[in-house]
């Protein structure tokens, strides 16, 4: 039903009052006093079985986001079984409780809900987004998917073919090839970060229902999980619904988390080339082992990376895109995980400028080691700190912040102190972390492109030892 009483549409008469005096445009307007950061209030409770529940009431839009987060991810795949977590998660919606794959999909779609299960590096989760009026109808389906998966044999075979074909298609896409190859040479075969989360054709072909159930049993346990809920409800109304769905959940079997070995940065600069005949652009990745999320250098690294390649007016983007026009965009990032994930500078550059682009990449990687001017530092800190409120706008934004807090054990005052922690970063901090983590002489350089055209000029740069890889070296033999 329409609710015209609460609809406020005020059509003002057209036309301003008087002819306008031209404003003074000689200086940009200065900001007014900043609005205070309003942080969501988190209500922390526990269900009967001990499962922690974090609730944020957000009454802007009549929707609900509910995530069951499990603190095991693809990083916990046992050696020889890389890809098992990812495959396990994909199977959760393929049969659960008394429901078939098709019944689950039909019920979820009919409610206008989004239900997804996924395993990423540090976490596995079942996530539900649904109009709040349908939450009570959607929760039992989510409960079956998260707590009672059946891993049916024929669905497993279908998923297996689906995943093998995806892996095959990955060979088409230069950014995918570059990312997979970069991680492989940086971490090697023996470290989980060196192999795609989905695994390899070799492992995907071997997984059985028992493998998937084994991983599931060790990971999906109330003592290894937390339920997050953000949306247009009160804690008092949703906790009984959660109790009904998740309160009787008990673990079986045992937990056996894998520990990751430490990864060492390369001892010297190594260049790798992957041939993609006819490619009009070369995909470049340059970087090394970065830092774990728990690093005390988190805030200085964030600011340093913003200056180097984490914003539009960053040095890499300004140089490679705006000044030279070699690319549509250049960037850098630190992928921080429970373990030390990669640091990488990246761009797709036009084939005939590949060597020139590499030179500019190294100019910027060397440049960031020098002291950063005060104005550039202030801009980077403001860019990160002042827009922080937008990280709490949508229900999905808030639930992601809560997941980070849980997975990475962030302190209770983390969000409240974020802005001041960013603003406290000094030029000396930036230089220190740049020298620690950006060592241009100890990086992997990965270039995926048309070698016939680009290789001679890359060799002439004398950057370091050059190794040529085939697509099979990167992905293993074709499935």
């Amino acid at each position: 039903m329409r609710t015209p009483l609460i609809v406020l549409v005020v059509a003002l008469a057209g036309g301003a009052l008087a002819a306008q005096q031209a404003p003074d445009r000689t200086h940009p307007p200065q900001p007014g006093p900043p609005a205070p950061l309003k942080l969501p209030s988190i209500q922390k409770q526990k269900l009967a079985n001990g499962l922690p529940v974090w609730i944020v009431e957000d009454h802007k839009v009549p929707v609900a986001q509910v995530n069951l987060v499990v603190f095991s991810g693809t990083a916990n795949d046992p050696p020889g079984k890389y890809g098992v977590a990812s495959f396990m998660a994909a199977m959760l919606e393929e049969g659960a409780g008394s429901r078939s794959a098709l019944e689950i999909a039909d019920a979820v779609d009919f409610l206008g809900a989004d239900l997804g299960a996924a395993s990423t590096i540090d976490v596995s989760a079942v996530r539900l987004h649904v109009p709040v009026a349908r939450l009570a109808d959607a929760l039992p389906i989510m409960g079956d998917v998260a707590l009672r998966p059946t891993f049916p044999r024929d669905e497993l075979d279908r998923q297996r073919q689906q995943r093998l074909t995806s892996l095959l298609q990955g060979r088409d896409d230069p950014p995918t090839i570059a990312a997979v190859a970069f991680s492989r040479v940086l971490y090697g075969k023996g470290h989980r970060y060196g192999t795609p989360q989905m695994g390899t054709a070799e492992t995907i072909k071997t997984f059985t229902s028992d493998d998937l159930r084994g991983y599931y049993t060790s990971a999906f346990r109330p003592e290894n999980a937390t339920l997050l809920a953000v949306g247009d409800f009160s804690a008092a109304t949703v906790v009984p619904l959660f109790e009904k769905t998740f309160g009787a959940w008990k673990a079986s079997g045992s937990a056996a988390p894998e520990k990751l070995p430490a990864a060492e940065p390369p001892a010297k600069r190594q260049i790798y080339l992957v041939d993609k005949p006819g490619a009009p652009q070369s995909q470049i990745r340059i970087g090394s082992i970065g830092a774990p999320r728990a690093t005390p250098d988190y805030f200085p690294i964030t600011v340093m990376n913003t200056i180097l390649g984490g914003s539009f007016s960053s040095r890499l983007n300004n140089n490679l895109r705006e000044v030279h026009g070699y690319t549509y965009g250049a960037s850098s990032s630190f992928d921080m995980r429970l373990g030390a994930g990669p640091f990488a500078a990246a761009a797709g550059v036009q084939t005939d400028k590949t060597a020139e682009a590499l030179t500019e990449f190294f100019n910027e990687l060397n440049g960031i080691l020098k002291p950063v001017p005060a104005e550039e530092l202030a801009r980077a800190k403001n860019y990160v700190a002042l827009r922080y409120p937008s990280a709490f706008e949508a229900t999905g934004d808030i639930s992601r912040r809560l997941e980070d807090a849980l997975v990475y054990h962030l302190p209770d005052d983390y969000f409240a102190r974020y802005v001041q922690n960013i603003q406290a970063v000094t030029a000396a901090d930036v230089q220190r972390v740049a020298r620690t983590y950006v060592q241009p002489d100890r990086v992997v350089v990965m270039v995926v492109g048309d070698l016939k055209t680009i290789e001679p000029k890359i060799r002439a740069l004398n950057l370091g030892t050059i190794t040529t890889l085939t697509i099979d070296d990167v992905f293993g033999p074709k499935p």
Binding site: M1, T3, I6, V7, L8, V9, A13, A19, Q20, Q21, A22, P23, R25, P29, Q30, P31, P33, P34, V61, P62, V63, A101, D109, F110, A113, D114, V132, A133, R134, L135, D137, R158, Q161, Q162, T165, R171, D173, D232, F233, V238, L241, P280, Q281, S311, N318, R321, E322, G325, Y328, G348, V349, A378, R379, Y383, L386, R387, Y388, P389, E393, T395
Partner: protein, 451 residues
């Protein structure tokens, strides 16, 4: 709380009331409050208040896109969009982004066939900076424009094309589909990103002419949304946009007729492992009769595991890796497309046989009430999901501008949703029968390049 009054999506029933067997609920209205005024120079302004986070968005739509391009100058509307970030009379090159970043702001723009949009998201205490920058490029862009600026962004745009078309698997298919659907004189014949030779030919003089013709305030609409006080925001908008000179309205477009009379069949090659089939039809413009029904046709055919094509091709027969269907709605004409990729060892011909069987079945027999309701429920949910962010692409401000531009009413949300709620199962069948003839469509196959 102020935020409760800011975005008045009529509240749905409380969760406890939803434990009925049937989720079908009586229609609920969705309304987004706004105020509206027009400046003497013709700029239409819409304000939307939402205090849930201390951010504001400045969202500008210019009513020009690639459909206004001249022959041999394709891609120009989009190249021009890039130039809008390169400084203006009182903003040196680079300062647009630097000043916004120093204020905690983000910005972007995009070009489609029928419009070009720009948004700036900033903390609410920097609203005036955003309005200054947005007004300066509307009023004084040409003061600092040089042939060198055009050259620099020309290179960037060519790399955008390489990245999104030539170096992306199957990236050229979309370009070829437009060429096959529409005759050369129709403005949807060429891609928004343009052809390389035309990008090379674009000149500084073209920039001047395009700006004067299409970037007048009377050819734009501005939505300012978020943590603002309407009276104060209006004063700032009048201050910064009041001195922008008015311009003449662009001449109306003459659009050549476009209709397929037979099958346009073509095969192209790409650096890919698997072939792919594209079927495409010319369909009713956005918001015209048939447009909403075709969204439901797309869902019945390929939305979710239980959709007809997904279930047969991917789930039961397992001869396809993926299948998608969508109605791509636009102002001058729409297209309906079905895209399917066979599994290794299977062919596009096998997929096309099944696809055609299912299209014909849907043309003969109406879908079940359950299929229709499942589709409409998902569309209804998408309306709520689209309310969660004020700024950026697809945020509430962007949607207010879209509805204003195309329907003359910023708050056309509920009318839009009502198009779907009003559909009967036979409307869906009739749309498939009328608009998806097997004998008048594009059939494009992408084959892997031979080594």
């Amino acid at each position: 709380m102020r935020c409760a009054a800011a975005l008045l999506v009529a509240a749905l029933a409380a969760p406890a009331a939803a434990q009925t067997a049937q989720p079908a609920a009586p229609p609920r209205a969705i309304h987004v409050p706004y105020t509206q005024f027009t400046l003497p120079n013709g700029l239409r302004v819409i304000l939307h208040e939402d205090h849930s986070v201390p951010m504001v968005t400045v969202n500008m739509w210019y009513h020009v896109g690639s459909a206004r391009e001249k022959e041999k100058r394709t891609g120009f509307a989009h190249l021009f969009e890039h130039l809008m970030f390169m400084g203006s009379g009182h903003v040196k090159p680079g300062e647009f982004d630097e000043w916004l970043e120093a204020a905690g702001g983000d910005n972007n723009g995009s070009t489609e066939t029928d419009r070009t949009n720009y948004w700036i998201n900033v903390p609410s205490n920097s609203l005036e900076l955003a309005l200054f920058l947005e007004s300066d490029r509307m009023g004084y862009l040409l003061d600092t424009m040089t042939p060198k600026t055009v050259d620099a962004q020309r290179d960037v745009v060519k790399n955008e094309r390489r990245q999104s078309v030539e170096n992306r698997p199957y990236g050229t298919a979309e370009v070829v589909i437009g060429e096959l659907l529409y005759p050369p004189a129709h403005p949807y014949h060429w891609p928004v990103i343009g052809y390389m030779d035309d990008l090379t030919a674009a000149s500084y003089d073209d920039v001047v002419a395009f700006f004067k013709k299409f970037y007048a305030p009377s050819n734009a609409s501005l939505v300012v949304g978020g943590d603002l006080q309407p009276a104060a925001a209006r004063r700032l908008i009048e201050k910064w946009f009041g001195d922008v000179k008015p311009g003449a309205a662009p001449e109306p477009m003459t659009i050549p007729a476009a209709a397929l009379t037979g099958v346009q069949k073509k095969t192209i090659t790409d650096r890919v492992q698997l072939p792919r089939l594209y079927l495409a039809w010319i369909t009713p413009r956005h918001f015209q009769p048939g447009d909403a029904a075709l969204d439901v046709v797309a869902d019945v055919l390929a939305g979710g595991k239980n959709s007809r094509l997904y279930k047969r091709l991917v789930y039961d027969m397992q001869i396809a890796q993926e299948v998608n269907a969508f109605q791509a709605s636009a102002q001058l004409s729409s297209s309906f497309q079905i895209v399917a990729t066979p599994r290794p060892g299977h062919t596009v011909a096998e997929l096309q046989r099944v696809i055609d069987e299912e299209i014909q079945k849907l043309q003969r027999e109406a879908p079940s009430a359950h299929e229709l309701e499942r589709a409409v429920n998902q569309i209804e949910s998408s309306f709520y999901n689209r309310m969660e962010r004020v700024g950026g692409f697809g945020g509430v401000a962007d949607q207010l501008n879209a509805y204003y531009t195309y329907k003359g009413d910023p708050d056309w949300f509920d009318e839009d949703l009502s198009r779907y709620r009003a559909l009967s199962v036979d409307d869906v069948r009739a749309a498939a029968a009328q608009f998806l003839p097997l004998g008048a469509r594009v059939e494009l196959t992408v084959e892997p390049e031979k080594k």
